[in-house]
Amino acid sequence: MTLYPTVTGSSVVACKYNGGVIIACDTLGSYGSLAKFKDLRRVVKANQSTLMAFDGEVSDFQLVERYLRDIAQEDGFHDDGIFQGPKDTLTHFSRVMYQRRSKMNPLWNNLVVGGWEDSEDRPFLGTTDMIGTMYEDNVVATGLGMHMALPMLRAGWREDLTEAEARELILETMKVLFYRDAWSLNRIVVATCVKGDMKIDEPMEMETQWRYQAYIKPPQ
């Protein structure tokens, strides 16, 4: 998968809110410009307190999922009651991404890692791209979401956002991405993580507005 991705997922959008993290993706796996897989789940439970979402090549993320299982298993073997959190997961995988890029064989993904960081008792959200650029932020988006969702998230984000407000903000950005991203779908998955609980919702279809007067009866 060094040269080019084949089956791809589009943008991921995520933000922190008061007490947790919310991540959303659409459920489309594109085979080039063909909308081939309409029920691709791009948000997974990475470990007990972490959600991970991806964009880019699907098969590369399936490898990441295998790594996640192995890490979780080893964590269990230690049997010390301490488990990897979102920070550990993000830093680990950003190193993996960087190593792969240094061997000119990258994992063609942008990973978004969000969850509850027990060691610091706070929500954690960060991302790493396919060459290992890692950062943490209150709002995060990948792909076209960086250009379209991030401005909206930055304008609408507050420290004391409730889950409902965060959900609404994220939903707005996913709608806009559906309007303007040519490789997107209006069927999305939203996942949340708070202290002690993670939830990945079932896919939902978004209501979108296409009936402007100018579209129904174009001038001239």
Partner: protein
């Protein structure tokens, strides 16, 4: 051996020289670009156009550049791309429209006239004139908004954005646009869209 020397249009006689130069010089001088956010919205009874004011080459060349160009008393044009190209195209079309108004005795020009003249000009130059424009105006038939790409393609839309900040601006407009906006609402959305481009792009 360049066709333009026979048929007019752009003078390409420096192309060979430029190709040689680019082999030897490590940083070729670039045309002044406006890294821009411009947008336009149709509201109930009119059109609003907005633009940021930064012009960039390698640095910020102009902090208060004007990107909204007069085309006719009832038509304005926002321009992204090469600043000079936008300005000169707007000026040229504006002159042509004024002459047309004088010849036909009209006081207002049609927005489609401005659009057609512009797109013919741009297409003739095959995209070499790097002007991405949004023409907006109100004439006797209604309020119109036409984004025009450098190669000369046009759309007729209720809202449009251009420039490097176009995605940031579009996200604001897509989430807030409704039919039959009031002028105040439209101006507010337009300025928020430009702000999104200013703070998140450029």
């Amino acid at each position: 051996e360049f066709p333009s020397s026979k048929y007019g249009g752009f003078d390409d006689s420096n192309q060979l020289r430029n190709m040689e130069l680019s082999k030897n010089l490590s940083n070729m001088p670039k045309a002044r670009q406006t890294g821009t956010t411009i947008c336009g919205l149709v509201f109930n009874g009119g059109v609003v156009l907005g633009a940021d004011t930064r012009a960039t080459g390698e640095q910020v060349v102009d902090k208060n550049c004007k990107k909204l160009h007069y085309v006719a008393p009832n038509i304005y044009c926002a321009g992204a791309g090469t600043a000079a190209d936008c300005r000169m195209v707007a000026r040229s079309v504006s002159s042509q429209l004024e002459l047309l108004r004088l010849e036909t005795g009209q006081t207002k020009s049609r927005v489609v006239s401005a659009t057609t003249l512009t797109r013919r000009h741009l297409f003739q130059h095959q995209g070499m004139i790097e002007a991405a424009l949004i023409i907006g105006g109100v004439d006797n038939v209604g309020a119109y908004l036409y984004p025009i790409a450098p190669h000369g393609s046009t759309d007729s839309v209720p809202f449009a954005t251009q420039g490097s900040g176009m995605l940031a601006a579009m996200s604001v407009i897509e989430s807030r646009y409704k039919d039959n906006l009031t002028e105040e609402e439209a101006v507010q959305i337009c300025s928020d869209a430009i702000l999104a481009g200013v703070f998140n792009d450029l």
